[in-house]
């Protein structure tokens, strides 16, 4: 039997529909692979073996009965992993936190429902930094996820499990969430493709909130083509998320083509480690060779982006996480004999270190007298960034730069210095603050560790992003599958 785990989503759907292999054969191989290698990677929090096999048999039955391809689904039989801050009906959703360790959602997030409706098979829930707060997947009550390219290194975060599982061929696709780079950072560190869609393109209903005004659910996969397939399934207006755009979603296509106006953001390249800058300059040369018009450009307000981002993210998180009172969902601690406030303070001390840090810092910037000094200014910087980026996007179709300013680093290396850790988000937060879409595509390696190219486009211009990303991807041909 050939190894089916390393196939792309596109190849799997074709194989199952054509009868080259069954969904059950494929899913069985995926489950065996998880069983065999996940001890090393620690990407999964929960594996739903029986549920996945049952769904695979249903797909196979539909194929045998000769049902129409459309009814079987555009993602028929494809193994998908879901970041564990996205609700899955009947399947535990923990946010890698003690505060939600036993939470079983009574409903599916809209994105999960849409994937299921398209025939995708949910194989399990993936590790993350607690409540998606972090850039390395080290802040999880289930322990760190490891980078499949070198297991002594971090996979990036906060969607580290989502990236590592795809890179390690434990699933073909995954969903992550991206508040300040949480899809793109691990995609870059694990040499896969990850997209943060435009704010409002994909429903956030069922995504457990961290910083609502910044975050989007985003797909992760081995190729741009797979990302296009997922976006065609999950995009669109949702009445349960009033921030989704109320207009018809275009059908995205894979059409790698030249003649794109590419702007290289100077500040991002200058701030990166030398191996990374070199790789990004080569990427620009490659675009030029592919008949694109490339030019270096500058974005001055980038200097203030990170301060604006962390002010907003921490403020929104302190407000969002106020809901965890351990009464409606939580772990087992009887409220008997506790006074109201004492009980809440007691149970909430079970949040992890990073979450507590952000709640306290968020309460600080929102405390009386400080609103004008921090939050309001941060929202003004955000407006300034938006103005500057929309001007740039009149001259350029896409803006490029590194996804991350640093190469993947060793597990535990930066965990004791929160500010230093926050600094590595500098290249990714721009897209969240301004709402624009951004994708990370594998660009090469430095010191044998993956480097990602980030491409950004205007609001709701995902198609041009896919055009540029697939053009680059097919010409650069960067290695995707690590030996494990």
């Amino acid at each position: 039997m050939v190894n089916l785990c390393s196939l792309t989503a596109e190849q799997i759907v074709k194989g199952i529909i054509n009868g080259d292999f069954s969904a059950e054969e494929y899913i069985s191989q995926i489950l065996e692979r998880i069983e065999k290698i996940d001890d090393k990677i620690n990407a999964f929090i929960i594996v739903d073996s029986s549920g996945a096999l049952e769904k695979a048999r249903i797909i196979d039955k539909k194929v045998r009965n000769g049902e129409d391809e459309k009814d079987i689904g555009a993602l028929a039989g494809v193994a998908v992993g879901i970041k564990d801050n996205i609700c899955t009906r009947g399947l535990r959703t923990t946010c890698a936190s003690k505060m939600l360790q036993d939470y079983v959602p009574p409903y599916d997030a809209t994105v999960v429902k849409k994937l299921k409706d398209n025939g995708a098979i949910i194989v399990g829930k993936l590790n993350l930094d607690e409540f998606a707060m972090g850039s390395t997947t080290e802040f999880s009550m289930y322990g760190s996820t490891h980078n499949p390219w070198n297991i002594g290194y971090v996979p990036g975060g906060s969607s580290g499990g989502s990236a590592a599982s795809v890179a390690a061929s434990e699933c073909a696709l995954s969903l992550g969430s991206d508040t300040g780079g949480s899809v793109r950072c691990p995609a870059s560190f694990c040499s896969i493709v990850g997209l943060k869609p435009t704010y409002g393109r994909v429903s956030r209903f069922g995504l457990i909130s961290y910083a609502n005004s910044l975050e989007q659910v985003g797909p992760m996969g081995k190729t741009v083509s797979d990302i296009v397939m997922v976006m065609n399934s999950i995009s669109g207006m949702d009445n349960n998320d009033q921030t989704t755009l109320d207009s018809e979603t275009p059908r995205y296509a894979l059409r790698p083509k030249g003649n794109i106006r590419v702007g290289l953001l100077k500040e991002l390249v200058e701030g990166a480690e030398p191996e990374i800058s070199k790789c990004i300059y080569s990427a620009m040369d490659l675009f030029s060779k592919l008949d694109c018009k490339c030019q270096e450009t500058s974005m001055k307000s980038i200097e203030y982006a990170l301060a604006s981002y962390y002010t907003i993210a921490m403020a929104e998180s302190s407000s969002n996480l106020a809901r965890y009172d351990n009464i409606r969902y939580g772990f087992d601690l009887s409220p008997d004999s506790y006074e109201w406030n004492a009980y809440f303070a007691k149970v909430r001390s079970n949040f992890g270190e990073e979450v507590k840090r952000r709640i306290i810092a968020g309460s600080y910037v929102l405390s009386s007298g400080y609103y004008g000094k921090y939050y309001l200014k941060a929202q003004k910087v955000r407006a300034m960034l938006k103005q500057e980026i929309s001007l740039l996007l009149k001259t350029f179709d896409v803006l490029i730069g590194p996804t991350m300013p640093v190469l993947p680093f060793k597990v535990s290396e930066k965990i004791d210095d929160p500010l230093k850790m926050y600094m590595i988000d500098i290249d990714t937060v721009i897209a969240n603050l301004t709402g624009i879409p951004a994708i990370s595509v594998p660009a090469g390696f430095g010191k044998n560790l993956p480097i990602g190219l980030q491409i950004m486009a205007g609001e709701f211009q995902e198609q041009i992003l896919f055009d540029a990303a697939s053009l680059f991807e097919s010409a650069a041909n960067v290695h995707r599958s690590p030996e494990l």
């Binding site: 009906r89 036993d102 939470y103 079983v104 009574p106 409903y107 009445n239 009033q242 921030t243 200097e303 203030y304 990170l306 301060a307 604006s308 962390y310 002010t311 106020a322 009464i327 409606r328 969902y329 939580g330 772990f331 087992d332 009887s334 409220p335 008997d336 506790y338 006074e339 109201w340 406030n341 004492a342 009980y343 809440f344 303070a345 007691k346 909430r348 001390s349 949040f351 507590k356 840090r357 709640i359 306290i360 810092a361 309460s363 600080y364 910037v365 405390s367 000094k373 921090y374 200014k377 929202q379 003004k380 910087v381 955000r382 407006a383 300034m384 938006k386 929160p418 500010l419 926050y422």
Partner: protein, 90 residues
């Protein structure tokens, strides 16, 4: 400057019971973080309007009640006779 007393107070506002060790650590780290956020003071923003939500309240969908199948409070551990038990108020 953020003192230990301020961290203790913020902990109380956020309903987080903190150990002495945590208070010392967070006092140091949050001072550093907030010091970085003070970068926002170094730029003139008087002319700029802050980002606001794109939709007006009148554009939001009506808040209709719809039936929900399933037990929304299945996760609560302390249920009794159709009620949920919480800590005492006084």
């Amino acid at each position: 400057m953020i003192s230990k007393d301020e961290i203790k107070h913020l902990g109380w506002l956020s309903r987080l019971e903190l150990t002495e060790e945590e208070i010392s650590k967070y006092a140091f780290q949050i001072k550093e973080i907030v010091g970085y956020l003070d970068k926002l003071d170094s730029i003139s923003l008087t002319e700029i309007e802050p980002v606001r939500s794109k939709k007006k309240i009148s554009e939001l969908r009506k808040d209709h009640v719809k039936p929900f199948t399933g037990d929304a409070l299945e996760g609560s551990k302390n249920r009794k006779d159709g009620f949920i038990k919480g800590p005492r108020l006084i």
